[in-house]
């Protein structure tokens, strides 16, 4: 069983759980570090971004209730989120996110049609990452402003109101509820228009570029803030790297400046954790470690224990399937 196969199984299992198992009464709670959308009827757990923005357990809370039971509940939800992120790091994106799996299927469709993947220039990538930061700040600031009475109350859950996952995931399950224009007032109308246009752009983007939405996903940014405490992480032995570039080629977010390609040979040849955590857009998919055909150049560590090391024979094993993706 290769890591790739394990990951595929994990993605599908979590897709099923997070999209449908609410109908069976299963709920994994409101602190999930992946885009498990609560607007999907029967979702089996809720993305933590919702809690983060909400007036019930997040930044939209009235400060007066901070030291009440509700405040404790909010802290507990945050604590659970931190624990989950610390345990599995950015792998939540690559191994469990239902929207991530959807994007992977869009990429497969593109490959089936033999259409070229879009290549975004460094400048374009930089611009996209700015949007990621803007979304993140937006979802943090607006609930606070609402609580202070400085923003319209209909801006509640500001990021959820424009998140494409809210529109696309229910559509996948046959629910077109959120595909509507809300004429109640200008705020809601603007939000619904932005939601629809943004979703359309993301749908096109994820077809032409693998894991396009992950480049702007605020959850990915939120997770990456806890990078120093990740237990599960990618490690690199720079003195083993032969610079073949396999890692960059198989990276779904085409991390150009990633540590796997670091040529910094000033680092000691001792076995060290050359990369503490992941680059910001990293999916934690470990494609790079699997496809590295140089002994020990890349590896996966959980806590102090190395659980996987790249090797030529493992990379050759992956070739038994006709394609990697």
């Amino acid at each position: 069983m290769t890591i790739r196969m394990l990951r595929l199984i994990s993605q599908h299992v979590f897709f099923f759980i997070l999209t449908f198992s609410g109908r069976l009464g299963i709920s994994l709670g409101p602190s999930l570090p992946c885009l498990s959308c609560p607007y999907v009827t029967g979702c089996g757990g809720v993305c933590y971004l919702r809690m983060l923005q909400s007036p019930m357990g997040g930044l939209g809370m009235n400060l007066a209730v901070l030291f009440t039971q509700r405040g404790l509940q909010a802290l507990a939800a945050f604590g659970l989120f931190v624990v989950l992120v610390a345990l599995f790091g950015q792998s939540w994106c690559g191994w469990t996110c239902p929207f991530g799996l959807l994007q992977d299927y869009a990429a497969r469709l593109r490959n089936k049609l033999r259409i070229r993947e879009a290549i975004l220039s460094d400048r374009a990538m930089f611009t996209i990452k700015i949007f990621k930061c803007i979304f993140f700040v937006y979802l943090l600031i607006i609930p606070v402003l609402i609580t202070l009475g400085l923003a319209h109350s209909d801006l509640t859950l500001p990021y959820c109101a424009i998140c494409p996952v809210k529109l696309i995931m229910p559509l996948i399950t046959g629910d077109p509820t959120y595909l509507n224009l809300d004429f109640t007032n200008s705020v809601l109308l603007t939000e619904s228009v932005v939601l629809i246009v943004f979703s359309g752009l993301v749908l096109v983007g994820m077809f032409f570029k693998t894991r396009f939405f992950c480049l702007i996903c605020p959850m990915s940014l939120l997770i990456s803030l806890f990078r120093p405490i990740f237990l599960l992480r990618l490690i690199k032995e720079p003195a083993a790297c032969l610079g073949c570039g396999n890692c960059r080629r198989v990276c779904p977010t085409t991390i150009d400046k990633s540590a796997p390609l670091s040529n910094d040979l000033k680092l000691s040849t001792k076995h060290i954790d050359a990369v503490r955590g992941f680059a910001k857009s990293c999916q934690g998919c470990f494609n790079c470690a699997q496809c590295c055909s140089t002994e020990g150049s890349l590896g996966i560590k959980f806590g102090p224990k190395v659980i996987f090391r790249a090797s030529r024979s493992y990379a050759a094993k992956l070739l038994k399937r006709k394609s990697f993706h």
Partner: protein, 429 residues
């Protein structure tokens, strides 16, 4: 005299022809002798005979058997899959005969890469316009000698088929390098289109890549066996040298048969009759081509077992797995071009410091006790590389021996002495 009456060849031409025939015979004897000595080894298996037959057969008969137009190339950086996708057979030109050097030497500089000198001599014995013909010659300009190959072949009076030069970006990790090499690969594609007369799409290229991936799978397993000392370096080199002498599919099939045979063998006898006191070494440096297995024979005689090597004629025969994430033609071409370019550890590149990592990799270090760096006289690049590698490995406490030689057998005893001394310094097994 009427111009349509054929003129008798001049004496010079006759002498040259006689010399060619003689050298050709000597080269054939070299091959025959080598093959007989290989067959006489105690670890010879019947599964090796396929590879030996390929190496002993004349080139013309091999090309006829393959039944596809052949495209020759000089260095491993030209994507083989692309050539295969066009319905052409990639054939690597190399020179391993000492005898052939004598034919070309008078026309060439005194200090020159002996491998290319041997190759030019070998080409002089072939009927390039007839049965031994290639449709084209692809020359990646990896070193000064390959850059000047066309001129050198003119000096030897050779009329080469169509030559396509490829200019690899010597600074591998610059931002422009991938694009430039992709441009070179694309222009190679266009060149091959003109040869094959057809355009290929992603399906053809995909199939070719899969074919070579299959070959790599088998090859990788051979490397695993070598690491476990179950496949001696000599046989490994025989198998690698025969790669281009048959279709990839046939070669892969034969490798799988060999793997089955080797894996079924009694596992107690792990090193198949080798000297149990042999020391494991890392062989690096200039490529070693059949039948010039002088270094390999000397290493065995000195009790040194090559458990890993860095030769482009051996373990670096195939660039490694090509992982495809973009299945468009552009994506496939990009994957190929990057794999061949970035994965190449030839010392021609300016920023080849990654290549040093192969020696200092702490996950590989434990399997060998010392490094033998083989440098062919006249090969400046490997000479320089040996000087760059030595201090790094000595810092790690790894023993290092630089051996400079050529195709002549005169220095065999001296080399043997040095290798034996080196082996002693590694300690008893």
């Amino acid at each position: 005299m009427p111009s349509n009456i054929p003129q008798a060849p001049s004496n010079a031409i006759l002498r040259l022809q006689a010399r060619r025939d003689k050298i050709s015979q000597l080269a054939a004897n070299e091959i025959k002798t080598k093959i007989e000595s290989l067959k006489a080894r105690p670890d010879y298996k019947i599964e090796y005979s396929y590879f030996l037959d390929l190496l002993s057969a004349p080139l013309a008969s091999r090309l006829a058997a393959i039944n596809k137009p052949a495209v020759a190339f000089l260095c491993q950086v030209a994507p083989l899959e692309l050539i295969e996708a066009h319905g052409l057979h990639p054939y690597r030109l190399f020179g391993g005969h000492h005898a052939s050097e004598r034919l070309s030497a008078p026309n060439l500089p005194a200090v020159m890469c002996p491998m290319l000198r041997s190759l030019l001599g070998h080409l002089m014995t072939l009927d390039l316009g007839g049965d031994d013909s290639f449709k084209a010659l692809i020359i990646p300009t990896m070193c000064d000698w390959t850059v000047k190959f066309d001129s050198l072949s003119n000096l030897c009076g050779l009329k080469l088929p169509k030559v396509h030069l490829m200019d690899p970006s010597r600074v591998k990790n610059s931002p422009q390098a991938p694009k430039r090499w992709l441009g070179e690969t694309s222009s190679l594609n266009k060149f091959l289109e003109s040869l094959s007369g057809r355009k290929i799409g992603p399906r053809e290229l995909s199939r070719a890549i899969e074919t070579y991936q299959e070959a790599y799978l088998g090859f990788s397993q051979l490397i695993d066996l070598k690491r476990k000392l179950r496949l001696p370096q000599i046989w490994f080199s025989v198998i690698a040298s025969s790669f281009y002498l048959d279709t990839v599919q046939n070669w892969t099939k034969a490798v799988k048969g060999l793997l089955a045979a080797l894996c079924l063998k009694d596992k107690i006898e792990t090193n198949d009759g080798h000297n149990k006191k042999s020391q494991n070494v890392f062989l690096a440096g200039s490529p070693i081509f059949f039948p010039n297995f002088k270094m390999l024979d000397l290493l065995e005689e000195a009790g040194l077992m090559v458990v890993i090597d860095d030769l482009c004629s051996s373990e670096r025969l195939l660039p490694g797995p090509v992982f495809i994430t973009d299945h468009s033609f552009y994506g496939l071409l990009t994957a190929l071009s990057q794999r061949y370019h970035l994965g190449c550890l030839c010392p021609t590149f300016a920023d080849h410091h990654h290549a040093v990592n192969k020696f200092t990799n702490i996950f590989i270090n434990p399997i060998f006790k010392g490094i033998i760096f083989h440098v062919l006289k006249g090969c400046h690049l490997f000479d320089l590389k040996s000087l760059a590698v030595e201090p790094n490995v000595k810092e790690l406490g790894i023993k290092f021996l630089r051996v400079e030689t050529d195709y002549a057998k005169e220095d065999a005893n001296t080399l043997l002495t040095r290798l034996e001394a080196f082996g002693s310094s590694l300690g008893v097994a």
